[in-house]
């Protein structure tokens, strides 16, 4: 056999470590660029710090900022592809005015002054007559402290961003239970947790922090369990993958709670000290206060003291009795919360055997996991040599915690039972004593906040030319806080904070266009959107959204008369707007990741950050925030004009520095005061942005070590948080197992109180506003023909496209240019299906055609695909034969935005408590396409819109480089 040539070796090199820089063919020390600027990434929701190297004004390299607290120098697949997002041909380059039919994509370019005149001309009459007729919804907005404020100044209650179809179940579930939440307002103690349980992280929130965290968990050899129907991404590296059936996580969690209670492995001390487990709940079935906390005259909740009976629960010397029937001084009967919850979850319906089949798991496995959690929590606690002082003034010499940490996200959130499932997870944390303790889940500053935080949502009494006072998206404490008219009908166009979704904290962007189209509860005049691809992947059922946006009345006018849209790219939604206000890219603008909105705080202290322009726009575009501030001034919104009517802010940076929401409190918490020495509260500092830039475009505070743990009951922490303006009073934040606000809604549904739900909603409110976590089958599956639609269908975001839809990015689209529907190999074989078969996917509301893939690691009753890979032909400046259009598809086309008719009204396909869009409740059937149909394109397949004026030519070859060509 002729052998490969034996490697011919050059003459021996005597020096084992020759000079590595001796190779003349390599330039070793070329400076990376000529300039480097720090800023904050905006390709997803993580808000990582980046360093952008420039050469001759073009981007050389984007890297993670090693000093930044969010990403500590790492950067993800998307952030690293920022160059291609920056230079994508699909960038809009001029304001556009629609000249053809809506959806045709026929536009003419107009000037900015003309665009502003038109926008003002549409908006001013609305404000002068009925401000509600403006619906302002801002998608993936990271400047909600500005946009929400602007909407309130305008006087419309109709504002939200995309949280209603993203993660409001997690926010609401957390903020109404523990005063923080998964992801945004808390994170696992990655450095100490010995057991990490992650639920339903469909490769979503958040990206780099989870990745950094998991790498530390794995490096320490701690156990990482991922509960997810699909074994990809994070689940792939889990020590144990629990391939649960979608929508049954709540059952699984409550079965874990059942096991902990059954085996008496709960942290009763923690419950008595830090939660409302000992609080007495009035037992007066049918009475107006049934299920509310027993309180004294001052309204202080009561607990049963072993020696003294009913006394204020906050008493330092309380010796709580956790179970039993007690009679209050006024003669009413009451039981402690713990009694009620133990009774409920010890019920055999929550036993592992009872839930196993439904979850697609073995009962023994559920019991084992419960036992493992209990063992770690109670046999392997962590004790830090860290003294702290609690709210009762007692100094603890050490800090001890149960090192079991939880994280959960979209797989929990995107179900119509997600709010209660999230509450169930928090209940589990509380039973284990695993909230803000070493090794458990920890609050991120500025949380914890009171439960629920803050004042109720603003929005009542909208009047012409009058700002609404307060936050439009805030926290109802009971029926009185709902945004409903006297007759119980919704005040908001999206019906958030109505009886249909009382805790819709993030609004319900997914219902806006449908409601506006139906004039329900009223028609609107102008739909003003920012960064939301509502005519495609951001919509449940995009075909219906497209239909409504193009629907005309008898007089030929559009049902939604005006649509203004701001985006940086030629998305599917652009052709459906009348006026396009082209935005800059994230590298061309100022921004603030504001402490008034969702800052970048960590368990170690507060933090916020800014974006600064690193590239000068080469197009006729303006940053949206700047446009909004100018519009505010043109419209004379009080906060945006001086007393003489002239603009109050010359630009967005001016607003960031000088706007004060309340005295001394502005968008940025750092470097306040005349010399920049104040934090949290302080006078505006003209040098503030410069100070941020010098600091890497972020600011962070460092809590003293004694404030790091048990923040909900740590007096030093609470005092500090009060000083920073994060909480109104430095009082214990008692974690809420039993949610009284929910019980108040339930009481209303039972006929108590002045504010009454419409009769058609009574049973719904009564059922779903349960003060303790419950599980119920996803709403769309209740009464559905589940034998016909036997498979659950869900999506995940591919990590390289997480929280974006970046097909205009020449690099990322090579990685994910098309998608298939993935099914368990065993299931496919049983159904006679094979890899790459073309199949029909049918739901109760529609059908689509796509290609099949098979895998081992997916729940056999579940199919899944990557989200937002399918594109409409011609959008994003991709050629019409692009794989995104021919082989990519959106599962959205078979998701309905409405539930099957229930009780005679049209309900959103959403969580009945929070209004969270229930993307993952979908059930489908999959059948093989006929032989003649065994080819693309995927269906539905839409026609391509016209190209906009001055669409750049589609290059045959891209040679991006800033290196001078030899």
């Amino acid at each position: 056999m002729p052998e490969a040539p034996a490697p011919v070796r050059a003459q021996p090199l005597p020096d084992p470590q020759p000079n590595p820089r001796s190779d003349p063919r390599v330039d070793y020390s070329v400076p990376v660029g000529d300039t480097v600027k720090t800023t904050t990434c905006y390709m997803c929701a993580c808000r990582c710090g980046i360093r952008v190297h420039l050469k001759d004004g073009r981007i050389r390299y984007i890297e993670g900022n090693p000093d930044h607290p969010v990403n500590r120098g790492v950067i993800c697949g998307k952030g690293s592809a920022g160059i291609m997002t920056q230079y994508a041909p699909a960038r809009l380059s001029s304001p556009l005015l629609r000249v053809g039919e809506r959806g045709s994509g026929e536009f003419r370019e107009i000037s900015w002054p003309e665009a502003m005149e038109i926008a003002t001309g549409w908006l001013r009459p609305i404000r002068e007559t009925d401000p509600r007729r403006l619906a302002f919804f801002t998608g993936r907005d990271q400047s909600q402290s500005l946009t929400g404020f602007w909407a309130a100044q305008f006087g419309t209650p109709n504002f939200a961003a995309h949280g209603g179809f993203c993660s409001v179940n997690m926010a609401a579930g957390g903020l109404y239970s523990i005063g923080g939440s998964f992801w945004e307002f808390g994170e696992p103690d990655w450095d100490r947790a010995k057991y990490v349980l992650m639920f339903g992280v469909a490769e979503d929130h958040d990206s780099n922090p989870i990745k950094l965290g998991l790498s530390r968990v794995k490096a320490r050899g701690a156990k990482f369990v991922s509960v997810n129907p699909v074994r990809t991404g994070y689940s792939a590296i889990a020590d144990e993958w629990v391939g649960i059936r979608p929508g049954t996580d709540g059952l699984f969690v409550l079965a874990l709670a059942h096991e902990l209670l059954r085996t008496d492995r709960v942290d009763l001390d923690f419950l008595a000290r830090y939660t409302n487990a000992a609080w007495l709940v009035v037992q007066d079935p049918g009475g107006p206060e049934d299920g509310l906390f027993a309180r004294d005259e001052e309204g202080t909740p009561l607990a049963w003291d072993r020696a003294r009976g009913a006394i204020p629960a906050k008493a330092a010397d309380l010796s709580a009795v956790m179970v039993g029937d007690h009679t209050l001084p006024d003669g009413r009967r009451a039981r402690p919360v713990f009694h009620l919850l133990a009774e409920r979850y010890l019920d055999p319906q929550y036993a592992p055997e009872a839930v196993a089949e439904r979850c697609g798991l073995e009962a023994a496995r559920i019991r084992r996991i419960a036992a493992e959690i209990a063992e770690v929590a109670f046999e392997h606690p962590i004790t830090l040599d860290q003294p702290w002082t609690d709210v009762w003034g007692r100094r603890h010499e050490t800090t001890t915690g149960s090192p079991v940490a939880f994280h959960a996200m979209r797989g929990i959130s995107a179900h119509s039972n997600g709010f209660h499932t999230c509450r169930a997870l928090h209940l589990l944390q509380m039973l284990l004593g695993a909230v803000d303790t070493p090794g458990s889940w920890r609050y991120k500053s500025p949380f914890p906040r009171p439960i629920p935080p803050g004042p109720p949502p603003a929005g009542k009494g909208a009047k012409p030319n009058t700002p609404l006072v307060g936050n439009l998206l805030s926290f109802p404490h009971g029926p009185d806080d709902l945004l409903v008219e006297e007759d119980g009908s919704p005040i908001r166009i999206d019906k958030a904070f109505s009886w249909e979704a009382p805790l819709a904290l993030h609004g319900m962007m997914h219902t806006v266009i449908g409601n506006a189209g139906a004039g329900d509860p009223y028609p609107i005049d102008t739909l003003f959107m920012f960064m939301a691809n509502m005519a495609w992947n951001s919509a449940m059922n995009p075909g219906e959204v497209i239909r409504i946006l193009t629907e005309t009345r008898e007089d030929g006018a559009y049902v939604i008369p005006h649509v203004i849209y701001s985006d940086a790219y030629f998305s599917e939604t652009v052709p459906y707007a009348d006026l396009i206000l082209p935005d800059t890219t994230y590298l061309e603008r100022w921004d603030c990741i504001s402490v008034l909105d969702r800052p970048i705080g960590s368990p170690h202290g507060a933090g916020d950050s800014i974006r600064q322009p690193v590239i000068v726009p080469d197009r006729n575009v303006r940053p949206f925030q700047e446009v909004l501030i100018e519009l505010g001034a043109r419209l004379g919104l009080p906060a945006f004009v001086k007393e003489d009517g002239s603009p109050r802010f010359k630009d967005y940076p001016d607003y960031i520095v000088n706007h004060q929401r309340s005295p001394g409190v502005g968008p940025l918490a750092g470097f306040r005061g005349p010399d920049g020495g104040k934090k949290g509260v302080g006078e505006p500092n003209p040098e503030q942005l410069q100070r941020y830039i010098e600091n890497g475009c972020f600011w962070r505070d460092h809590l003293p070590p004694e404030q790091e743990w048990y923040k909900h009951a740590n007096q030093a922490y609470l005092d500090g948080a009060r000083a920073m303006g994060f909480i109104p009073k430095p009082e214990q934040i008692v974690l809420q197992l039993w949610s009284e606000p929910l019980q108040k809604f339930r009481l209303a549904a039972e006929g108590h109180g002045e504010r009454q739900p419409p009769d058609r909603l009574r049973e719904r409110v009564r059922t779903y506003c349960d003060p303790l976590p419950i599980w119920y089958p996803p709403l769309e599956q209740q009464g559905a023909d589940l034998d016909r639609f036997e498979l659950s269908a869900v999506t995940q975001r591919p990590m390289a496209m997480y929280h974006s839809w970046g097909s205009m990015n020449a690099w990322l689209r090579q990685i994910h240019g098309a998608n298939k529907l993935t099914m368990a190999r065993s299931r496919a074989e049983a159904m006679g299906l094979a890899q790459d078969d073309w199949v029909w996917v049918e739901s109760r509301s529609g059908r689509l055609k796509c290609q099949l893939a098979v895998m081992e690691g997916v729940n056999p009753d579940t199919v899944w695909t990557w989200n937002a890979i399918g594109k409409r032909p011609g959008a994003w400046d991709l050629s019409t034969d692009s794989p995104e259009a021919l082989r990519g598809f959106l599962l959205n086309h078979v998701i309905s935005e409405w539930l099957p008719a229930q009780q005679g009204f049209r309900a959103a396909n959403a969580d009945p408590v929070t209004g969270q869009a229930a993307w993952y409740d979908l059930r489908v059937r999959v059948t093989k396409a006929e032989a003649a149909e065994q080819a693309g394109p995927t269906e539905p397949h839409f026609p391509a819109p016209h190209q906009r004026p001055h669409t750049p030519a589609n290059p045959d070859i891209l040679r991006y480089s800033v290196k001078p060509r030899a």
């Binding site: 056999m1 002729p2 490969a4 040539p5 011919v8 090579q814 240019g817 098309a818 794989p883 082989r887």
Partner: protein, 306 residues
């Protein structure tokens, strides 16, 4: 492996050209080939040169092709280039000798040219045979196969030319013998590659065999790439079997039979039979060379297809 047209043509044409040169160099000085031999030499050099030029079409930067002769110490491709260039010298000297009728020079140049032809074909074969990632090429029968095919196609061509020159049973006889030999070799080769175990598996390529059977889940990119186009070429087993039959029939069996016929017939019918034989042989070899690529699999595809 993707059967690049330029390479398939190169190995077929140059192979035949070197075969022709080999036989001419050996036989002409011995007087075993009728006629002057210049036509045969011209045809040989034409085929060789056309093949070599064709092979440069495969290059990304053909204008730099001259650099390819520098690495003869390690690279078979470089050695092939060196051998090919060096072989021109005795081949041209042979031409000169035949032109001026200098038998001694013809003998020496002929032998050297024949040696050069063998060396060049050997180097060509070794380019393929040295590639471990491609098990169908990294095979002991590949080099003999290249040499035999070259000898066979050269012999057929020489026999054809000899017949036109009015004689030359020896080339025809050689064509029959080398044809039969090449056919047997080729069949043995196909048999061998059809039954040989893989040189590597997806399990060894990924290190994951210790967990269990390994299957690709998702490719790095959803579209094509250079490696997939270059090495992901696939041919259906049925299709390949058919082509193998055609190659065996047209490329070997028929030319051999036609050469036998030519021996029996003699004269112009023999020349015509051998012409047909030469066309069939070259056509068959094109198919065989195409198959040589099409049936070859590269280990990189383990990463994509398992």
């Amino acid at each position: 492996m993707n059967p690049a047209g330029s390479i398939v043509f190169f190995t077929t044409a140059s192979g035949a050209g070197y075969g022709l040169l080999f036989w001419l160099g050996l036989l002409r000085p011995l007087g075993l080939v009728p006629g002057q031999g210049l036509v045969a030499l011209a045809l040989a050099l034409l085929l060789i040169t056309a093949g070599l030029l064709s092979s440069t079409l495969h290059l990304g930067n053909p204008q730099r092709a001259w650099r390819a002769v520098s690495q003869w110490r390690s690279s078979w491709l470089s050695r092939e280039g060196v051998a090919a260039i060096l072989t021109y010298i005795p081949a041209l000297l042979l031409g000169l000798a035949l032109w001026v009728d200098a038998p001694a020079l013809a003998l020496a140049a002929g032998l050297l040219a024949a040696a050069g032809a063998v060396a060049t074909v050997y180097c060509t074969a070794m380019i393929y045979a040295s590639l471990k990632p491609i098990r169908q090429w990294h095979h002991p029968l590949v080099v003999p196969g290249y040499l035999a095919l070259s000898a066979f196609s050269g012999a057929v061509l020489l026999a054809m030319l000899a017949a036109f020159a009015g004689g030359g049973a020896v080339p025809a006889l050689l064509a029959i013998l080398t044809g039969a030999g090449a056919l047997l070799l080729k069949r043995a080769y196909w048999q061998a590659i059809d039954t040989a175990p893989p040189i590597a598996t997806i399990e060894s390529a990924t290190t994951l065999g210790f967990i269990g059977k390994t299957r690709p889940l998702e490719p790095p990119h959803t579209e094509q790439n250079y490696l997939l186009r270059e090495m992901g070429f696939r041919i259906a087993r049925k299709h390949a079997a058919k082509l193998r039959l055609i190659a065996q029939g047209a490329g070997f069996a028929l030319p051999v039979l036609l050469a036998l016929l030519a021996l029996l017939l003699g004269g112009m019918p023999a020349a015509l039979a051998l012409s047909l034989g030469a066309v069939l042989a070259l056509g068959g070899l094109l198919i065989e060379r195409w198959l040589m690529f099409a049936e070859a699999t590269h280990t990189v595809m383990l990463y994509y297809r398992g």
